[in-house]
Symmetry: C2
Subunit: 622 residues, 2 copies
């Protein structure tokens, strides 16, 4: 029963939060107060209305209800909630947007109550899906996940990926709240105040929808109570007023992302009326339920006989199975291609740890962020080319300090006949561009197997590139592989040039070695299985010994292995020649395409000879 005192307290809290939202953005000179004002009752009603359960001293408590601001720009509101909860001071609030403050312009995990960084719209619901999946299927905990959504960001397709998947996985522990305040950044949204339109669309996918007046506390509280009893995911669709509480802001276009100047701020505060700065809201702590926990056991072992080629994508699937006992927090996510990425090998062994995410890579990546934030190690797989669909989510994962392993199969032109739409040719560049990422590209099943384990041990975003076709086994069972490592596979005192490659082209380099050796030309061959970070010491040594480096990659040139090597060697001045894919690829057999793109052993041999010839010429004319 919503008692009168509670509602009075909530009304006071509204005023204080509105004051905070205005004050912090005015102090910062920037921010999004009007976006915060529209959702004040929605959020205060959630946190302090009795529904939400949270252990304020312990944001990491596995039993906490989770609150995600998909509309991350309403950060003033977000931070203010915790101030009203009593654990963030007004002084901290006023450090909003100041350099060094954890109270950033959009929430990042520098602020202890941020579940996951947001600010790039349309991602919060997928993060919520991840946390809800975790609660229902992994930790088996009763917490609920709440996601505050802007109406404008419902145009983002990724939200509709999340909406579909949430029903498929029966996430009745997931509650979305759409703040329908009609106004986006530069004008009205597509649906304006048509709350029924949102309710109808979301509802058509199978969510329970509850339409309310987003400023009427009794309706807000009623909606949350009802949501707790639902058998389906719940979408509360709330009609609100952008800038609510300040007459000259209410429902007015042109105030998005505008902080009030002092004069306007004073006027606004006056309008709020009497503010009780001491009012606080209570959040009851959650029930203490023990999450599912499995004691790590030693990983299994696997042997790859030297005489049978195996695709690294197959080795990937097997590696997941092998290491899982040691990493029982692992989960595997795939986007409807598990029989191509071979994550199905893991799915068949541990079906409860595998989540089919369908052809919806954005949601998959966002859900991975949510799962990672709840202590899981997601291995997220699809074709390398299709991981690019989720780049914005992966980029944002950095600011959540997310621990996720992305695995892209079908790398390069060497996939063959399917043609360029299926070829990963930019993926190394994309994942190298992710701050502090690790990029691994094993050439054989043994290194692939070991590197999957290294990836699992490493904290952070790791990308593993796998190959479609079977490739020869290069390494013996006892070889070890480390992030930032490499393997010098061929070496002599007479090496004229170093050829550094990874994955499919490493095998081309070995073929080139054999061909050149017949002609009494010796080259150094390095397997750069760790593309980022690179084994700089080994590269420098090889550069100094042999005088030139040729890099070979089944990838476009920009941002790839060639540029990575140049970047690692500089300012050491050794010529680096980069063989990469320059021509628009097409369908064809893998060997045809490697030749066409001049990244096959033939081109490597040519390049070595070209370098030798140039040196001779320089020596004779020099």
């Amino acid at each position: 029963m919503q008692d009168r005192k509670k509602l009075e307290n909530l009304e006071k809290i509204s005023k204080l939060i509105r004051y905070y939202s205005l004050a912090m953005s005015t102090a910062a000179g920037s921010g999004h107060p009007t976006s915060s004002l529209s959702a004040t009752e929605l959020m205060a009603g959630l946190l302090f209305g009795g529904t939400f359960r949270y252990d304020l001293e312990n944001p990491e408590n596995a039993n906490n209800d989770r609150l995600i601001f998909s509309k991350g720009h309403a950060s003033p509101l977000f931070y203010s909630l915790w101030a009203v909860a009593g654990t963030v001071s007004e002084k901290e609030l006023m450090s909003f947007r100041k350099f060094g403050s954890p109270i950033e312009g959009h929430p990042t995990v520098a602020f202890r109550y941020t579940e996951a960084a947001t600010g790039s719209l349309g991602q919060g619901l997928s993060i919520g899906v991840g946390m809800a999946l975790n609660a229902k299927y992994l930790d088996r905990l009763p917490y609920r996940t709440y996601v505050l959504l802007g109406d404008s960001e419902m145009a983002e397709g990724s939200q509709w990926e999340s909406i579909q998947i949430a029903v498929h996985y029966k996430l009745n522990n997931l509650v979305g709240v759409i703040d329908v305040n009609r106004l986006g950044q530069r004008g009205e949204t597509m649906y304006g105040f048509d709350v029924e339109a949102y309710a109808q669309s979301v509802g058509s996918f199978g969510w329970e929808t509850i339409v309310i007046d987003g400023h009427a506390y009794h309706e807000v509280l009623g909606a949350y109570e009802k949501a707790c009893r639902s058998e389906k995911p719940v979408m509360i669709v709330a009609k609100t007023i952008k800038g609510k509480g300040v007459s000259f802001l209410e429902d007015k276009n042109g105030w998005h992302g505008v902080a009030l100047k002092k004069d306007d701020f004073d006027m606004a505060v006056k309008e709020l009326g009497e503010i009780d700065y001491s009012v606080r809201g209570e959040i009851p702590p959650p029930e203490n339920v023990k999450p599912q926990f499995v004691e790590p056991q030693p990983a299994g072992t696997i042997t790859y006989p030297m005489d049978k080629p195996v695709a690294t994508r197959n080795a990937y699937g097997k590696a997941l199975v092998r290491i899982y006992p040691q990493f029982p927090t692992m989960v595997s996510l795939d986007a409807e291609v598990s029989n191509s990425t071979m994550s199905e090998i893991f799915k068949d062994a541990y079906p409860n740890r595998f989540f089919e995410m369908f052809i919806a890579e954005q949601n998959m990546a966002g859900a991975a962020v949510g799962l990672a934030r709840r202590g899981k190690i997601p291995f997220v797989s699809t074709f390398a080319a299709f991981l690019s669909r989720a780049f914005d989510q992966i980029r944002m994962g950095v600011y959540s300090d997310a621990n996720i392993k992305f695995v892209g199969s079908h790398a390069g032109v060497s996939i063959g006949q399917d043609g360029p739409s299926q070829m990963g040719l930019e993926d190394i560049a994309l994942f190298r561009a992710i701050l502090n990422s690790v990029v691994l590209y094993p050439c054989d099943a043994v290194s692939a197997d070991r590197l999957v384990e290294e990836a699992a041990k490493h904290w952070g975003i790791v990308y593993i590139r796998t190959t479609r076709m079977p490739t020869p086994i290069v390494y013996g069972t006892n070889e070890t592989f480390v992030i930032a490592g490499s393997k010098v596979l061929r070496k002599s005192d007479g090496d004229v040039v170093t050829v550094a490659a990874a994955g499919i082209t490493l095998h081309e380099a070995l073929k080139a070695y054999d061909e050149l050796r017949k002609q009494r030309i010796l080259i150094r061959v390095i397997d750069l299985y760790s593309v980022k970070p690179l084994d700089e010491a080994t590269l420098r040594d090889a550069a100094k010994s042999t005088g030139s480096i040729i890099t070979v990659e089944d990838h476009y040139p920009a941002g790839g292995i060639g540029e990575a090597v140049m970047s690692a060697l500089t300012p050491l001045t050794v010529p680096v020649y980069s063989l990469a894919v320059h021509k628009r690829p097409k369908s064809g057999m893998p060997a045809e395409l490697l030749d066409y793109e001049e990244i096959s052993h033939k081109s490597i041999v040519s390049k070595v000879k070209e370098i030798m010839w140039m040196r001779e010429r320089q020596a004779s004319t020099g």
Copy 2:
């Protein structure tokens, strides 16, 4: 009236197309026959049922109805249609997936009837949106755009972006056809055969929906006839059988992307019964309506006084207005941030050439591909960081030979207080990775203005990076700027080092120059406004003259300007020192952040001195 003879002919056509789909994939040893078999009646009914209008001799005819295979893997079906139309031979069909054949694994524009390359799922509807927008609002032509959709790819959020936008823009000239065959690649889709679920969801957004048996020609033809009369975009939801026509394939999991081996192929052909290999379908030509055409006029002029800083994003908006008379095929698309990207300046001047695409970057990019294929020059803008949301679509645009200009604002940490979610820090790497792209990064309003014009003149994908804050005017009105050009802004015979920068850091370089000059140290300063392709000659010259290059960029290191310069100079061996953003960014004032990330003038001065010191040391110990 659907007459009996027509239906009989269509049934014969079905058989022939099924034969072709099976034969071409069997000959290639790969391909997606079962995905082609399920949509045979849907497509044959469309092309040969009397609805579709197409000038077979002239695929570029502006009046042609447009057919897009969003489910691009059903390419055998796609190619077979044109064989039945009589303009593709069986021999050509059998070159499917062979190296050098335009009949590729997934359709690319190498094949003359391909409207736009597909194969990365979930993009076809957005391309269709672009073509429909063109018909309704730009060319003002009566053609219809048809998009064949897979059920599995309806999980992709981008489709729902398109679905929302199509209603907003009243695209009643857009028809989608969902081939609900229940089976994705690795198993059942989320909705199986629940055609009503698709109809309900799509319908809830405001599309007219027509549910049919996808193999019953009278229903198929009826649906297309009805679609022609609709006031809304139309979604035909067709229940189909994957592998239809071959008993051992029908509705069986495990046959996705599997070509039949010879024995199975022979069995399948037997089951098809008697095939009339000579049957052909007729496609009436379209009415010859003249598209809207505006004669190009000379572009306007604009002057930027040297004493007033202007943000390059503002110069961008103004440049669009200035050049539009010369490029009347231009259109501007923006994702709900036109008052930030400043495309609103163009919107206000030419509202009929501006399309608000709301917060749905994927659909925006796909629509741009559609518009480009219909002869328009789309300028597509949002925050640099959010363009990454559409990377997969941009990547696919290459294989459509798309002529699109992407413009990303709010580049770098220098945007300040909004924090990392809003900062473009990977965008240079992303756009450099796009095959044959051009990447431009003007430092001032004058160069921004000129480069927008150069971008418009250039055919292909161009990326222009713009800055949030006002920056000083560097160039006089008469300066010219070209793709692959650069400007040497400071030069002397005594330059100790070259500093190469672009955009915001170019100004830091100029400040560093002034500081160093006071200390009698001279540096060369180069404005690399064309990041790709780079002005290699100027860089080499500077490298040889000054002995070292320092690059400075407000961007993460991987794949950025530093690596671009290293890549351009190699194998010339000159040390390149790259100053870039290495630390996780945060909120703060722009100047604070430039200092924090060590890319401000202070860090440039430091680096110059460090290099000088190292040289002295080498000289004394050497």
